[in-house]
């Protein structure tokens, strides 16, 4: 681990060279009716990179676990796996998304490792950027403090005159050759630490309680049906909260044929536990059993998963406070701070 410094005037050259040498994915703007949002996309030129972004519509998870991914391809009786990981640099990831990636890493790795995720993940270099603008719905400063960001390769922090670039792995070190870096001074390192710490004060939405106390009270509220029914009254079962979540990783698998009707693929797509048919099985003759038939049950399941079920496995809640679900929910009922704060203590 070492600390480096790059001057503002050298930053564009660094990135230009990096883009020339590698596939670099970073936050870029996307607009509709003058409204500016951000997405992770492949960079072709430096000026597209927007490290002043607040949050991206989808988390960077999509780079390793895309919304649609072929698991197998077939041609007649021949079946092939399709693991073709591409080396890339994810540049400018916020620390809360790094925490989430670390969680999905663990979940895809545990028990039966899913190479369709881990192979892509291993091929990536992740560069964190300090948060320069706080998303109004974010609450990362008040959730899961015990879970530290891990698994990134370098951390870039903007201070006066340039950026401190902290490398944590060999993959991170390997990026140094693309820019004019000098050793960071103790003052610069301290300034970078302050820049990261101070940002938390601007993160206004607050989750009350500790991870443990919240897990306990959410878990204990399982049987309070009237509570969940009320929470879910305006739920569309649209799965937007799931689809934009950096720690959601459920998927559906479907087979299909190409136009030749001989070859085709087995493809997985993101699934969402809020949607009506998520836990439904067919019993034949038109009969079916839905293990979470009511929208209140599905709404509750999401909160159990985010606040309680996975905590032991992940060392904290499966929520990093990015605020994407709060913003994506048109009925505005998905905000974890509102929901969890309003659940009475066990």
């Amino acid at each position: 681990m070492s600390f480096h410094f790059i001057k503002d005037q050298d930053f564009a050259d660094f990135l230009t060279d990096l883009i020339r040498a590698k596939i670099v994915v970073g936050p870029v703007a996307k607009t509709s009716r003058q409204q500016e949002k951000f997405v992770f996309a492949r960079l072709t030129r430096v000026q597209d990179l927007r490290l002043d972004y607040d949050v991206t519509i989808l988390p960077p998870k999509k780079e390793f676990f895309p919304a649609k991914q072929d698991l197998l391809r077939f041609d007649g009786p021949r079946v092939k796996a399709c693991l073709e990981p591409v080396e890339k640099v994810l540049f400018g990831v916020h620390f809360y998304d790094v925490k989430a990636l670390d969680m999905t890493d663990a979940l895809f790795k545990e028990k039966n490792e899913d190479r369709n995720y881990t192979a892509h993940r291993e091929a990536a270099t992740i560069v964190v950027s300090n948060i320069r603008k706080v998303f109004p719905r974010a609450f990362w400063a008040s959730i899961g403090a015990e879970v530290k960001p891990r698994g990134h390769d370098a951390w870039l922090t903007q201070i006066v005159g340039g950026c401190v670039f902290e490398t944590g792995t060999l993959k991170g070190e390997a990026l140094l050759k693309f820019g004019r870096f000098s050793e960071a001074s103790a003052d610069q390192v301290a300034a970078a630490r302050r820049a990261n710490e101070d940002m938390g004060k601007q993160c206004l939405e607050q989750l009350k309680g500790t991870s443990a106390s919240n897990a306990k009270k959410v878990r204990a509220a399982f049987g309070k049906e009237e509570l969940w029914t009320k929470f879910a009254e305006d739920c569309f079962s649209c799965g937007s909260c799931n689809t934009v979540c950096p720690t959601c990783y459920c998927f559906d698998v479907q087979d299909w044929w190409n136009i030749d009707q001989k070859s085709g693929a087995r493809t997985r797509t993101w699934d969402a536990c809020l949607t009506e048919d998520f836990a439904k099985i067919s019993l034949g003759a038109g009969a079916a059993e839905n293990f979470r038939e009511e929208r209140a049950e599905r709404f509750r399941h999401r909160f159990m998963r985010k606040a309680a079920y996975l905590n032991e496995k992940l060392g904290g809640p499966a929520c990093v406070g990015c605020g994407r679900c709060s913003a994506a929910c048109t009925a505005d009922i998905a905000d974890p701070t509102t929901v969890i704060n309003s659940i009475p203590e066990a």
Binding site: I57, L58, F236, G239, I259, D260, A272, E276, A328, A331
Partner: protein, 250 residues
């Protein structure tokens, strides 16, 4: 093995869904003809058939009692009947007529009393005959139709989504219409189209109808609260394509 015989029929509709099929100018779609034998399709050929058929695509709503025998006759001949497009599936936009009385005068003016303009309450064809599968949409999504045909060729039930359009918007990072001060019906609309409208900056009008259990009360709330629609308007807003699926269906 002989290629399955496929035929197209139309009732009360604009035939746009059939046109959608002829829009498959792309060689990849023409290749479908290697796998099916189209025996009747008036948009593209003059032949007609009275023979048994494997798959009947029926476009259009049931709007006149006089159409019943023809629907029943097609059903009798067809192994599989697909309600092709929203008019056939739920009566789609045609069902708006069920909510108005003055449409004939409004549309045809002085000719409005011509007897062939007489029609009754408009329904999806499944109110008359058994429908095996539904290709939703106004118009249908040709890629979905291709998959429906492909699945049927292999004796596999087609996969039709029962989740809302929001899923497809989010997957492709489309900026939500509500975030730009617009309205949208995507939260209750059946997906499967790939959500091209919001991606193009146009609200979803639910042209594939509702999902099985739409939360319409919540939609009305969101339309008035976030899109600023007056209450009555918010309540009526979703009717264009879902008149027969709403609580106030006639």
């Amino acid at each position: 093995m002989a290629k399955p015989k496929v035929a197209f029929f139309d009732f009360t509709c604009c035939e746009g869904c059939q046109i959608e099929f002829t829009n498959y100018g792309d060689p990849v779609f023409l290749e479908l003809l290697n796998h099916v034998d189209v025996v009747e399709f008036r948009e593209a050929m003059s032949e007609k058939t009275t023979e048994p058929i494997d798959v009947a695509f029926i476009e259009g709503s049931f709007s006149r009692e006089a159409d019943r025998p023809r629907l029943e006759e097609i059903r009798k001949r067809a192994k599989i009947v697909i309600a092709y497009g929203q008019c056939a599936s739920t009566a789609g936009i045609n069902a708006l007529k069920n909510h108005t009385a003055d449409y004939k005068k409004f549309v045809y003016g002085k000719d409005s009393e011509m007897p062939h303009l007489d029609s009754q309450k408009v329904l999806g064809i499944d109110k008359v005959i058994k429908v095996d599968y539904y290709a939703y949409g106004c118009p249908v999504n040709k890629y979905e139709v291709l998959q429906i045909v492909s699945h049927l060729l292999h004796g596999k039930e087609p996969v039709i989504p029962n989740y809302p359009v929001c899923v497809e918007c989010k997957r492709q990072e489309t900026i939500c219409r509500y975030d730009v001060g617009d309205y949208c019906l995507g939260q209750t609309a059946r997906a499967g189209c790939g959500a091209p409208c919001p991606a193009d900056g146009i609200p979803c009008e639910a042209c594939r109808g509702f999902v099985d259990k739409p939360n319409h009360d919540a939609l009305v709330k969101v339309l008035s609260k976030r899109a600023g629609m007056p209450k009555g308007w918010a309540e009526d807003k979703s009717r264009m394509f879902t008149a027969n699926q709403r609580g106030d269906a006639k």
